[in-house]
């Protein structure tokens, strides 16, 4: 029997802040704006709740891409949360890039509650990017000793 080539179905985790991006995702839903089912959303109160450990944990457990969405800078429900998140994620992503993880696997996008279209477009383009990058093997096998 020929070996069946397993179709690549990426695992993509999306952290969405409750006030803007989660609502934006809801709006995308009620507007029937489709995006691939590979994306699974985790609701957090604010983008500043997203600990870099969550993102690394996702990669550790086999995620192929992690995206974080929050309110637009200046519009944070908690005034300043996304400003902190922005710095944290910039540094984290830069570190991942530094150790050779493709920067396309991580993304931050600001999506307001009114931007259902943007949410769906963002997810479509992110998923497309992950498909083009393929399976995330690097983060899994750093310790494969030669």
């Amino acid at each position: 029997m020929p070996l069946e080539k397993k179709e690549f179905k990426p695992k993509i985790v999306a952290f969405c802040c409750n006030w803007c991006s989660y609502a934006g995702a809801d709006l995308a839903g009620s507007s029937r704006l489709t995006y691939p089912a590979d994306v699974k959303i985790i609701r957090v109160p604010c983008s500043c709740r997203v600990n870099p450990m969550f993102i690394l944990r996702a990669f550790e457990k086999g995620a192929d891409g992690v995206i974080m969405c929050g309110c637009h800078p200046g519009d944070c429900h908690y005034s300043t949360g996304n400003y902190y998140a922005r710095r944290r994620m910039t540094l984290l992503f830069s570190m991942l890039d530094y150790i050779g993880v493709e920067s396309g696997r991580t993304r931050v996008e600001w999506v307001s509650a009114a931007e259902g279209v943007k949410f769906s477009e963002t997810m479509n383009s992110f998923v497309e990017k992950i498909y083009s990058l393929g399976e995330n093997v690097r983060l899994g096998d750093l310790r494969c000793k030669n």
Partner: protein, 662 residues
């Protein structure tokens, strides 16, 4: 170990058409901790809720997962249902398999797979949920209304009539807003001032209403029920208590060259001024930039002529701090700037004006004392062209993508009024669509055409060319006749798009109220909560939420007032128990969390702890649960993981991540 019940909703066919709901329920039974799973047509219905209650009681469930629509929709419903059945409401988690799944995926197998994963994540989370108790916070029985236009006035009156104190903060020297600038109103052609002024007087005379004009909101802190607001009362340079409003100062003021804001810069006013005759309060303001005394130190005429001795050049801005339970935003609108619409020659010809400017031209108190005349040479126009949708419905960045909603009707009004008063003037309206949804609106527009002979042409104007003889050449198209039109006009009126008052951005940021890409404030729900901001305790009144006419504004103002009253009527509010807390055995006392808390909710205490037998006094972070809003910024700033957020704990989120990546 938890005993978890999983309830999968069909939502009629909304979910069931794309997600195999019974499969989701079946898979749920294989998850750790799940003791019960079922699916039902409408979980949010009374019968659905009864099923949840029955399962909680019969199976002794300690937590439940409802796979249904967005938690933003029914989380509260299911929490209440659980609570009635004796379960702590925070032992409920929602798996959003409608908005995030069935509505966006078409393939049943794929959608079902995803729904199962979302269910698993929710089950994994609920396994780690702990019962939480909501605290209580008090409600300050006073409301703040930002903006003193018709929306703000109406909201304030309604709240005050219900017996609560209301403060209005208005940026300009008088309340009245845009409506005070209008001449007549559609569709009944009432005189705007005649219906607005009594409301202004009523507001100023109301014992429960305090009006701060020439004032701005400077700082907002706190939260629903307990906002603290700093209001800057700008220096008026006139003592409000002494001024009698006689107006002599304005007459004698030698500096009369400042453009009149009220008349849209079409004429000038004195440096000491009240914006218009019916201004409330009837106390003038010195425009320090225009005032000779302030510019050169010499003059002081107003002080000399003021018999009441009310002029006070030394007056300084004053900050008032007041507490409020509710805040209503009623900041209104302005017309967009036309500097990027060169083709309409607005900046080249004085005879190309906006509709709001036409209101002033037609008004007896306006720059032409109500005579319809060309602003360039004062001649009576014979041919007037109205251009619709200037800057509205624009896909490019010059204008606004939305319909400004009021232009079709006010243009019909203008056209009708002109034809009525000056039957020899020809009026042509270039339109794209005439939009008249509203009571008596289409009838009104038809009257303009049928009774008053206004010439409506379907087609946009491409260009307005000022001619050397002072006339304006209007180049438009008639799409129905399929011809290009070249028309000479004496006056062109632009139905300029409206946009939210630019200050609203600053205010929204202070209030942490969300705002959309067009700077309109976002409502909590587009259909079901149209006058509330998603930020608790903030309500929306008038055009700050979206374009609307006067009757709609007044209706919304009343609705916002009712929502505010509903809040103020409560003595206490339940606070969100999903707040941060620090594990005192792990806390380093490093202050990282304190530095990122937007609410100042974290303080440090020297506390004696018993760390596995070691007793010592440590500097430990303490969270004030009434102030904490649960954003979680501190939890990430904390290097040791001592700070965690109830309801969204590190372990809960990690459990969700693990479930999704499994």
């Amino acid at each position: 170990m938890q005993r978890i019940g999983v309830f999968v909703c069909h939502c009629g066919s909304n979910i069931a058409a794309t997600v195999d709901v019974s499969k989701v329920a079946e898979m749920a039974l294989m998850e750790p901790g799940v003791a019960h799973a079922e699916d039902y047509q409408y979980m949010c219905s009374e019968a659905g809720q009864a099923k949840i209650a029955a399962a909680i009681q019969e199976k002794g469930l300690t937590g439940i997962v409802v796979c249904s629509c967005s938690p933003r929709m029914h989380e509260a419903t299911f929490r209440k249902a659980a609570e009635r059945a004796g379960l702590n409401p925070y032992m409920v988690e929602i798996a959003n398999i409608r908005e995030h799944c069935s509505w966006i995926h078409k393939d049943m197998e794929e959608a079902t797979k995803k729904a199962v994963i979302l269910m698993r994540a929710a089950v994994a989370k609920v396994n780690l949920n702990t019962p939480l108790q909501a605290g209580e916070s008090r409600v300050t029985k006073r409301a703040l209304v930002i903006g003193g236009g018709i929306a703000g006035i109406q909201t304030a009156l309604d709240i005050a009539d219900a017996g609560y104190e209301v403060d209005i903060v208005e940026k300009t020297p008088s309340i009245g807003g845009r409506m005070s600038q209008l001449d007549k109103t559609f569709p009944t052609l009432d005189c705007s001032a005649c219906i607005l002024t009594p409301k202004m007087v009523e507001a100023s005379a109301h014992e429960k209403i305090t009006i701060y004009t020439y004032s701005e909101v400077e700082k907002v802190s706190g939260f629903v029920g307990d906002f603290t607001v700093d209001i800057r009362r700008k220096a008026r340079s006139v003592d409000m208590n002494k001024c009698t409003g006689c107006g002599v100062c304005q007459e004698k003021c030698p500096s009369k060259k400042a453009p009149s804001e009220f008349n849209r810069g079409l004429n000038t006013r004195s440096a000491i001024y009240t914006p218009f005759a019916q201004a409330i309060p009837n106390v003038p303001v010195i425009d320090r930039e225009a005032c000779i005394k302030f510019r050169t130190g010499k003059c002081g005429v107003c002080s000399k002529v003021c018999q009441a001795g009310a002029i006070d050049y030394e007056q300084k801005d004053e900050i008032i701090t007041e507490k409020y339970g509710a805040i209503v935003v009623a900041t209104g609108f302005d017309t967009i700037k036309l500097d990027r619409y060169d083709e309409y020659a607005y900046s080249q010809s004085k005879d190309v004006i906006t509709s709001l400017e036409l209101e002033r031209v037609m008004n007896a108190a306006g720059p032409t004392h109500g005579h319809l005349e060309r602003l360039s040479d004062g001649k009576a126009p014979k041919e007037i062209v109205f251009i619709q949708c200037v800057g509205s419905r624009c896909a490019d960045d010059r204008g606004k993508p939305y319909c400004s909603k009021i232009c079709c009707m006010y243009t019909a009004k203008h056209a009708m009024l002109i034809r009525d008063k000056y039957p020899d003037v020809n009026v042509t309206v270039f339109y794209i669509d005439v939009r008249t949804p509203g009571k008596n609106f289409d009838e009104f527009y038809r009257r303009a055409v049928e009774q008053y002979g206004v010439n409506y042409i379907k087609g946009q104007v491409g260009k307005v060319i000022p001619k050397p003889d002072g006339k304006l050449l209007v180049q438009g198209s008639d799409l129905l006749d399929n011809r290009q039109i070249l028309k000479e006009a004496d006056m062109v009126v632009l139905a300029t798009a409206i946009e939210p008052n630019p200050d609203v951005r600053k205010i929204a940021t202070m209030l942490t109220a969300s705002i959309d890409t067009n700077n309109f404030l976002t409502e909590a729900h587009a259909k079901l909560r149209p006058v509330e901001s998603p930020t608790a305790g903030i309500f929306l009144s008038g055009v700050c939420q979206g374009p609307k006419d006067i009757p709609e504004t007044v209706a919304q103002a009343g609705a916002a007032a009712v929502k505010a009253i509903g809040l103020l009527a409560k003595d206490k509010l339940m606070t969100n128990p999903c707040t941060a807390h620090s594990d005192e055995l792990l806390c380093n006392g490093c202050s990282s969390c304190e530095n990122v808390c937007p609410y100042g909710a974290i303080t440090y205490e020297d506390k004696e702890v018993n760390d596995h037998g070691i007793r010592e006094t440590r500097r430990i972070a303490v969270v004030n649960n009434a102030l904490c809003q649960g954003c979680g910024a501190c939890t990430v700033a904390c290097p040791s993981g001592a700070m965690d957020l109830q309801g969204f704990s590190n372990r809960q989120i990690i459990a969700e991540v693990d479930a999704i990546c499994r």
